[in-house]
Amino acid sequence: MTGPVRDRRAATGDGGRGCPAGPLDLPHASPIGQLRQREPFPDAARVALRDSQLRANLGRATATIRAKRAAAVGEVPDWEALRLAGAAVKDDALDRLDELLATFSERVERAGGHVHVARDAAEANGIVCRLVAETGVGEVVKVKSMTTQEIGLNDALSAAGVHAVETDLAELIVQLADDLPSHILVPAIHRNRSEIRQIFLDHMPGVDPALADEPEALAAAARRYLRDRFLHASVAISSANFAVAETGTLVVVESEGNGRMCLTLPETLISVVGIEKLVASWADLGIFFQLLPRSSTAERMNPYTSTWTGVTPGDGPRNLHVVLVDNGRRATRADPIGREALRCIRCSACLNVCPVYERVGGHAYGSAYPGPIGAVLSPQLTGIEDNWSLPFASTLCGACYEVCPVRIDIPDLLVELRARHVEHARTKAKGAARRRAGDALEAAVMAASGWMMGGPRRWAAATRVVGTLSPLAARGLLDHLPPPLAGWTESRALPPLPRESFRAWWVRTQGGRDIDGAPVPAPAPTPTQLPAPMPTQLPVPSRARDLPVGTPTPAAAGSASARPSPPVSAGASAAALLARFAERLADYGSGVWFTEEEGVAAAVAGRVRGGLVLAAPGLDPAWLAGVPGAAHDDPSRPAPELDAVATAVTACRLAIAETGTIVLDHRDDQGRRALSLVPDHHVCIIRAEQIVAGVVEAVEALDPARPLTWISGPSATSDIELRRVVGVHGPRRLDAILLGAPEDLPPSAEPAPPRPSAAPPTPAGGASPSADSSRRYRPGLRASR
């Protein structure tokens, strides 16, 4: 396919000046970066539409994700209430932006981080480049980030002599191919597996020439290529999905584990965060951790979510810089209609359902933000005239609004932006914009039709013209009209034109007297009281807290396709929570095992397949008794040494039944973040009483001051044709050992298979664990609770 052209000038926003120290005293500049279309959408789309491979790739991928999303969302009975809550939380944060920014900055500084403020792309790039230059490195690792795409950071870094390695699989594919991302979540969605294989063969140093085009093989190649870079990087750059004001916490939501690598291993972490990412309170995350994963990857929970507050001694980066970026956001916020777009949590659901996006792909939008949200966000951030054709790139079918988890009324915003463009062209535009032939002609047509429709007489006269054209149409003389109607007649016939309009007929027949209006056999009684039309707008609460999340709304009722199991309630029994958690965690492809207290050591030993076994420093030594040579981690040892470890054993802080999620807060019995990340196998021991019902209960129970890792299954990616591949950068195997009282454990679980002979058990120390009596979760257990 035709590669899009990078706007190198836009990258630094300063005509290629590169990347000197951040000039914080610049006059307010207009936003810059990769936000501007280089050609009008219809022209760019025409090129994309000719690429049949692209259309096939996109069609397949978006159809897959649409179906998955519908199922994931259908499982949540209060989805509509959640959407309202998400919108309300974001609106509230936008209302109180300055207050929240001040609180956030103060909290970050107090927790040992440094906050920088950038008004536009050039300032942000300048700050990041200066921070990187101070560390003296020539290479940084990066977590996938829309904000750094938007500001064109990679090109700015490159101009400053720093190579930024993209570590998200799809971003890596895009970077290796010197391509541009075409989707918010899956930037290489426009590529299929054989194209990706070719890109790796051509551009990935040290790649195996016999590389297969299976997604598993491609993901494994990326893992090999990036592992060394993670282990030895000293600077990482991320953005954040959310920034919590009251606690100064940043959040990154991801799948592959590359995020955890970047957020944990390097000494310096620079997080570039758009100011619209702020939410007021920690509890707000309970809403977004439900909305985001189900809307974006269509999962109950994404494999990994990391939250961190400042710097944690002995765990993770020692230097944290947060760069808060405006780049047009304040101007957008000041717009009473357009500000709604700043609610966006970049889930990409609107792209996946957009019929226009599905046909033309992301590049035609010419901006870091493609699809429906790009069509409103890009023109808002740059000013309408720099992206004037984007708001017209929609049929206003409304599919985007229907799925948007924060209820951004994208069609309404598109119409508003269209009106602003038209008004601009009418009043202010000079030169080229005014002379743009299409615009002028259209304005004339609209004005003429507006006049014609100004009254019934003029309109009746106009409809009579149709009658006079009717014989011409019948003879095929109107089959090919000149521009701008050529676009219509090229692929569509005009309908046969009537000789008489409806109104002419009505008048002539004195109200349609010639109509057969005989009543139907059994005329229904006519109610005297008219029922009001279907309400289609739900009341929007002023504050999210006012919302009874948990109350099913009419719109949600019956929307679920299959009958999903109802959510477990907060008051559910230990057995019910355990059963639901096991079912949900196993769904991600994790091993799930049940045991009573005495069986833990044997259960741990039964999961080990040889190699070095390292446990969290505070883990009960009795639990390791079945594994000879198992040691406790010494956090002062450099993290890269963990690469030699085969299995890490930890406890957890809590677990979530509804989503099958394990949360670590990295206290002593769980170890530093790197411990459960670098080794390829993670064994986690969970006590039944640690399991809570849902995400909201978990957020409530957790301490935001601790670094938190939310784990939902093994690392995974769907970056290649949206097919889920288990195992990328984080552990490829996850075994959960669920420890409960005999009466809480499911009755009919089968015993564990015999231990593989590779790691024969030799009881160590004084303990002598019996044979592994833990029982593996099998899907059929769902019913036994």
Binding site: F392, G398, M446, G487, W488, A493, P495, P533
Partner: protein, 247 residues
Amino acid sequence: MRVALFVTCLADALFPDVGRATVAVLRRAGCEVEFPLGQVCCGQMHANSGYRREALALVRRHTEVFSAFDAVVTPSGSCAAAARHQHATIATRAGDEDLADAARALAGKTYELSEFLTDVLGVVDLGASFPHRVTYHPTCHSTRLLHLGERPLTLLRHVRGLELAPLPDASTCCGFGGTFAVKNADTSTAMLADKMAAVRASGAEYVTAADASCLMHIGGGLARLRTGVRPIHLAEILAAREGGAGA
């Protein structure tokens, strides 16, 4: 009950049969139908193309013409949606709160035809007969703005002889989108191609919908390809009687 027919500018000028069929169906269901001659257009095309000055004038006219009636019925999901969701906003953004109030009141008694028949009149069997294989395209605005859902299908299921053929990927937009079809003709055509493929895959002889505009687009494509599948408005099927005596 004084029921006003809002025939829509498109049906008035290009598809008068749709208007005649709507009159026939409403009369058979026991309504007295009036056609206020002052009506012209709901202003949707102007509004959606960014020409709000022109749209505002049309909204004002529409509101004046129809406010006195008990109910306004239109054979278009899209135009019903414009009255219901767009008119008050247009007025508010133009700073005319009186008009916005009037538009909201009118929105509360504006109905798309199938909605009026099933919800207000409680009629699902119009005594219609249409012995053909028909597929139904749920247009975007009738689906996502009006939430018509099963209503049109329920009506179709009561038509004698009619065999309802399921449409693959039914809820996907056909690519019309008003001026979109002209401004982004290539993308529109690509979407149309997929919709036509779905219609043909359904094996139907007719494709029907609650909007003449989308049908003009889909039907235009089908005619250009000489597929033999014909577009027909929902009202026309409901008005069809045994022996072909329709509207």
